[in-house]
């Protein structure tokens, strides 16, 4: 990527689904740098899922509608490149892993994408092994997806996307169906992929208490537009955020309550250990 250009560049994006009168996306401009971990949040119906579909070309190629503006991912204009081509750059993980896994074994599911690219056998083998290991699914590779727990299924879905060796991982509410321990494990896996591989992450998530500590940036969408965009410490303490119906993490609320009560901490904490460290410093 040359001079200042983000790995995702969105300009004047508007999209209205066929048959709908209201635009799902109503003028979005943003740039996401390579290696950024971005949380995308906002009330139901704000356009988060539609935006994700624009990143891997499902819009405009699969969902019919009225598309305006420009989306460029990894240097490719999504209007000019097909879904299979974009899928090598943008991996999309859905809310419900059952919609993504369909083979008899985890390994077959992970191999499905690379096989469809017509890659040489050795290369497929290498990618599948790597993706299974990176997601902690190696031991479970011979299992049928339906025998796995929700968290394991979601890791298998991520493995099947990783095997395409994408630059960008887009996850649409991947923790919705997981229990708290499973959700925490999944977020920590996503953070590992971001930190160790430098993978760009766009995570659609309502549970900011769980995810914000790992992110570089939080974008809140509202009615098809970007309402707030910035580092989590700024966005989560912006009074407009609670007005938009966002669940502000309890540690951020406690930080604000402490400040009101006269205990001003030097920075906004995003996790309980961070808040405890800050309090211990001033105590």
């Amino acid at each position: 990527m040359e001079g200042g250009m983000g790995i995702i560049e969105v300009e004047g994006l508007r999209f209205t689904y066929s048959g709908s009168r209201r635009p799902a996306l109503d003028g979005i401009d943003l740039s996401i740098r390579k290696g950024e971990f971005v949380i995308l949040t906002g009330p139901s119906g704000c356009g988060k899922t539609t935006f994700c579909r624009c990143l891997n070309g499902l819009i405009p190629h699969f969902y019919p509608g009225d598309f305006e503006g420009r989306v460029v991912v990894a240097g490719l204009d999504t209007r000019e490149h097909e879904i299979w081509e974009l899928a090598q750059h943008v991996g999309l993980v859905f809310q419900n892993p059952e919609n993504q896994l369909f083979c008899l074994t985890v390994e077959a599911d992970v191999a499905f994408g690379p096989e469809n690219l017509g890659l040489p056998r050795d290369e497929i083998r290498r990618r599948v092994d790597w993706a299974l290991k990176a997601t902690g699914m190696w031991e479970l590779r011979d299992r049928a997806p339906h025998e796995l727990s929700g968290g394991q299924q979601q890791r298998a879905a991520i493995a099947s996307v990783l095997a395409m060796e994408p630059d960008i991982l887009v996850l649409d509410e991947p923790t919705s169906f997981l229990d708290p321990a499973g959700a925490a494990e999944l977020i920590s896996l996503i953070s590992d992929l971001n930190k160790s591989l430098g993978m760009t992450v766009v995570l659609v998530e309502h549970r900011l208490d769980l995810a914000s500590a790992f992110s570089d940036r939080v974008i809140i969408m509202d009615r098809g537009r970007v309402a707030l965009d910035g580092p989590p410490e700024e966005v989560l303490t912006d009074p407009r955020a609670s007005g938009l119906g966002i669940g502000i993490p309890k540690v951020v609320k406690l930080y604000e309550l402490l400040a009101d009560g006269g205990l001003k901490l030097p920075k906004v904490p995003l996790s309980p250990p961070e808040l405890a460290d800050l309090v211990a410093e001033v105590a």
């Binding site: 906002g42 009330p43 139901s44 119906g45 809310q95 727990s149 929700g150 509410e173 919705s176 169906f177 997981l178 229990d179 708290p180 321990a181 499973g182 925490a184 309502h206 208490d209 119906g245 966002i246 669940g247 993490p249 309890k250 540690v251 609320k253 406690l254 309550l257 402490l258 009101d260 009560g261 006269g262 205990l263 996790s271 309980p272 250990p273 808040l275 405890a276 309090v279 211990a280 001033v282 105590a283």
Partner: protein, 276 residues
């Protein structure tokens, strides 16, 4: 008269033992939250309340009636169960019919049905969808139809299975307020693993922690939901507020850790910092 679950075991036809000796009482006016990992048996347990599942061993008494000796239709009049996935519950051609369906089955007079359906449509903000097929609605709207279609017959026991799944924060807040408004007259049982949703309730519910088909513990939210050892056995993560206090205690600050409320935690922290 309560719901009494006595030494209940249940094995699915494939041999999986979902419940392995559960004892539990839901008294009149109780507010109970059942928490635990996926596969702990939570949904199976609440299905024994209205006879959808009958124990392989032990018994369930609803207001003194053994569920093996009553039909699901009889039990449903008292125990309204709102399923996790509204698609498993909704099947009528319009929202109005969906909400009226059970009332017709229970033999309510037509005038009464019309009155109650109007109430439910208003109470859940569904008036504009009266003639719309439920299946074209959004996930959050379907959840509201599912809830309305149960509450409309005013069951004495209301059971909600994972009501926050796939809901955003604003929708969860609305749901919380609505449930708070129902407390007192009815018993409400919520199955969930959304711990931050649970700790925001006023009054706080009684908590039942389950794992592997058994009840691990039951008691006050302040005690159970701050106990890391119990929580990890139930695959739960300690809420953020007590987690902060616990970490401060590890650092040598003299703070209580059985606190769920942010305002109370502020007071605990400030007095401990000032006291040093």
């Amino acid at each position: 008269m309560p719901i009494i679950v006595e030494g209940v075991w249940y094995a699915y036809p494939n041999g999986v033992e979902a419940l392995r000796g559960v004892d539990l009482t839901i008294s009149d006016g109780d507010f109970v939250v059942i928490m635990g990992p996926n596969g702990a048996g939570k949904t199976t347990l609440v299905k024994t309340f209205n006879g959808l599942i009958r124990p392989t061993r032990g018994r369930v008494l609803v207001d003194g009636v053994d569920t093996r000796e009553a039909t699901v239709a009889e039990l449903a009049r008292k125990v309204g169960l709102v399923f996790q996935n509204p698609d498993h519950q909704l099947f009528c051609a319009t929202v109005e019919e969906e909400i009226a369906f059970a009332l017709r089955n229970f033999g309510f007079p037509e005038e009464e049905i019309a009155r109650r359906v109007d109430w439910a449509l208003r109470a859940f903000g569904l008036e504009e969808y009266r003639d719309v097929p439920p299946l074209v609605l959004s996930g959050g709207e379907k959840k509201r139809v599912a809830l309305a279609s149960i509450l409309v017959w005013d069951p004495k026991y209301l059971v909600l299975d994972e009501p926050t799944l796939g809901q955003d924060y604003a929708q969860k807040e609305k749901l919380r307020k609505m449930v708070e408004g129902l407390l007192g007259e009815r018993s409400v049982v919520i199955v969930t693993h959304d711990i931050e949703f649970v700790v925001d309730f006023r009054p706080r519910p009684k908590v039942v922690l389950m794992a592997e088909g058994k009840v691990l513990a039951q008691g006050k939210a302040e005690e159970l939901l701050t106990d890391q050892e119990l929580l990890s056995r139930a695959s739960l993560v300690r809420p953020q507020v007590p987690e902060v206090l616990y970490r401060l205690r590890e650092k040598g600050l003299d703070v209580r850790t059985d606190v769920l409320d942010p305002e109370e935690a502020r007071d605990v922290i400030i007095s401990s910092v000032v006291g040093r």
